[in-house]
């Protein structure tokens, strides 16, 4: 089965609402990153968070390693937050290779 699963696959919100994105993975992760990609754009690293809680700006990521899940919370969403959010892990046995989820497409309406 898929090693990294993200949910929801798409999310539509009004500007100002909070977004909650989930990432579940099937094996122990030594590294976990959240990336953002705008339509036609490159991948921007948002947070590196293999365990615990990290904040940057309006973003908060919480990773519970033993439950093999991570969340990304976006507070007070803005239309410029629209895009695809990808979760990727680096497993201990993956020899430096990132394993990717299929992404959450976020649309923020004005």
């Amino acid at each position: 089965g898929q090693q990294v699963q993200q949910s929801p696959s798409s999310l539509v919100l009004q500007e100002g609402e909070n977004a909650e994105l989930q990432c579940n993975f099937s094996s122990t992760a030594t590294q976990l990153q959240w990336f953002y990609q705008s339509p036609g754009g490159s991948l921007v690293s948002l947070l590196s968070n293999p365990s615990g809680t990290k904040h940057t700006g309006r973003l908060t990521s919480t990773t519970v390693t033993k439950e093999r899940r991570s969340s990304l919370h976006i507070s007070s969403s803005q239309t410029t937050d629209s895009g695809t959010y990808l979760c990727a892990i680096d497993r201990l046995d993956s020899n430096y290779q990132l394993i990717w989820g299929s992404g959450t497409k976020l649309i923020i309406k004005p």
Binding site: S42, S48, D90, Y96
Partner: protein, 112 residues
């Protein structure tokens, strides 16, 4: 600190032509990755290096694609005899010792 630099940003080719993509990773990063991302799909790993050594090139279509990183710094990805199915964005990324991975802006390739 400069990020990952890629060139060119865009390329348009006729089928059968060759093209090379260049990547300059973040200084000090030992691991360098090349990804292919077709439109509306996730990134797919082609090849990655640790220093100058190829760690995994199993996803590289070896008959037409090649990648080198001779001094463990810059890298070149080359496509010989491009096909329409190669149309995608080619992304280079780097990291240090299984740490955070950073991506360049990519090269958008169109093969007509």
């Amino acid at each position: 600190e400069a990020g990952v630099t890629q060139s060119p940003r865009y390329a348009v080719l006729q089928e059968g032509q060759a093209v090379s993509f260049w990547c300059d990773p973040i200084s000090g990063h030992d691991t360098l990755y090349w990804y292919q991302q077709p439109r509306d799909q996730g990134p797919q790993l082609l090849v990655y290096f640790r220093d100058e050594a190829v760690i995994d090139n199993s996803q590289l279509p070896s008959d037409r694609f090649s990648a080198v990183r001779p001094k463990g710094t810059n890298s070149t990805l080359k496509i010989q005899s491009a096909k329409q199915g190669d149309t995608a964005t080619y992304l280079c990324a780097s990291s240090f010792d299984r740490g955070e991975v950073f991506f360049g802006k990519g090269t958008r390739l169109t093969v007509v």
